[in-house]
């Protein structure tokens, strides 16, 4: 069965329909896991994974199934998928030189991060919607964001752009809105909880019943 599923991965007619899957995608350290944790904490009381200042802390695709989000706008039942941050490549030297890891730990983390990125890319075909999480204090014109934007447009996948970390002094959600003019952009701070209700409302209004 697994062989058949893999063979027909790209054939919509033969694909088994699962729950509504919403993936959190973006660069490393954009705050995807922090946001996933905040969402789960608010609706299930659980958390998704650990967060760290060192990039590639999330190195596996983590899914929480059937999260029931209820707001004044309605209800959304969604499988929330937290993914490793996407990058062109992962260099162990980054961890060694910048985050004071010993060589062995850096190599291990880099290898796991590469696996995680591939897993996240594989999971793109399972998505029903994407939450593109960006660091509002960072330049949005990054290769990762451009590639993901092109991917969702090619697949006609619904996407909401989350401008995270708006609590930072140099955050600029307007710059992000300018880049993603055809998609809704919501500025939040997953860390402080700022404007999260607006994001939940937007999610329920866009994807919910």
């Amino acid at each position: 069965m697994d062989w058949l599923r893999r063979r027909f991965k790209f054939g919509g007619l033969f694909r088994r329909k699962k729950g509504f899957r919403m993936g959190l995608y973006g660069s490393p350290n954009a705050g995807k896991t922090t946001l996933a944790n905040a969402m789960l904490r608010d609706y299930t009381g659980e958390v998704m994974g650990t967060v760290s200042e060192v990039p590639h802390e999330t190195r596996r695709v983590l899914t929480k199934q059937e999260v029931v989000m209820r707001t004044e706008q309605g209800t959304l039942i969604v499988d929330v998928m937290d993914t490793p941050g996407l990058a062109s490549k992962v260099d162990a030297m980054d961890f060694e030189l910048m985050y004071n890891m010993d060589s062995e730990a850096a190599q291990k983390r880099a290898a796991e991060a590469r696996q995680g990125i591939v897993e996240a890319i594989e999971a793109l075909d399972e998505l029903d919607a994407m939450l593109l999480v960006l660091d509002a204090a960072d330049d949005p014109y990054q290769q990762v964001n451009q590639v993901l934007l092109t991917h969702v447009q090619a697949r006609k996948l619904p996407m909401i752009v989350v401008a995270n970390k708006i609590d930072l002094p140099d955050a600029d959600a307007g710059r992000i809105a300018k880049m993603f003019q055809r998609h809704p952009v919501v500025g939040i701070s997953a860390k402080t909880g700022q404007n999260l209700d607006a994001l939940y409302d937007k999610l329920v209004r866009t994807f919910g019943s």
């Binding site: 991965k9 790209f10 010993d102 290769q143």
Partner: protein, 184 residues
């Protein structure tokens, strides 16, 4: 503290911070890592400065040099840093490209389609990702992300040879059924 930087500073105690950093940049694998990336160089300069300041601020190196050759510092063995040395360019050239080599135990087939030949035959082995059908190597992992629209044919039957095989199978099955029914 970054072991690589710390180890370099320990191995070159007489240098000023500026000279030490320049020398550090000339180390083969550091030079390869920095490449032409100015931001990496700048981040590295900051980190180097931080480690340098921390080591000299602690007085570790100052005490070591004051202690002289018979002092405790001379008994201290240089710290060994385990590093995976990259294959030399000549060696690398002789190796069979992993994309064409037969699958080994640690290779993993990915559920992504090759953006060149359309086949689902992309493998990952260590840090190398490549298509075994057409030999396309994916140095940039983001290139694995599909950015082309899916047409109605691919939507129904799948993309690449999978789609053609599925469509062909269905047509074949109906043809067979037709001839079977006609023969009855």
């Amino acid at each position: 503290m970054s072991e690589v930087i710390e180890s370099y500073i320990r191995r070159n105690p007489g240098l000023s911070e500026k000279d030490a950093f320049e020398g550090f940049l000339r180390e083969e694998r550091i030079r390869a890592w920095v490449g032409a990336d100015e931001s990496r160089k700048e981040r590295l300069r900051k980190e180097f400065g931080r480690v340098w300041g921390s080591m000299h601020g602690d007085g570790q190196l100052a005490r070591a040099s004051r202690a002289g050759p018979s002092g405790p510092a001379s008994l201290e063995q240089p710290r060994t840093v385990r590093v995976n040395i990259q294959a030399e360019p000549e060696q690398a050239a002789k190796q069979v490209p992993p994309s064409l080599a037969p699958p080994s135990a640690d290779a993993r087939k990915l559920s992504v389609m090759c953006t060149v030949c359309g086949r689902i035959d992309v493998w990952m082995q260590a840090d190398h990702i490549g298509c075994r059908s057409c030999g396309r190597a994916y140095e940039d992992m983001l290139q694995l992300i599909r950015v082309t629209p899916v047409g109605p044919f691919a939507f129904l039957f799948g993309e690449g040879w999978v789609g053609y095989a599925t469509a062909g199978g269905i047509v074949g099955a109906f043809t067979l059924l037709y001839f079977l029914l006609r023969g009855l």
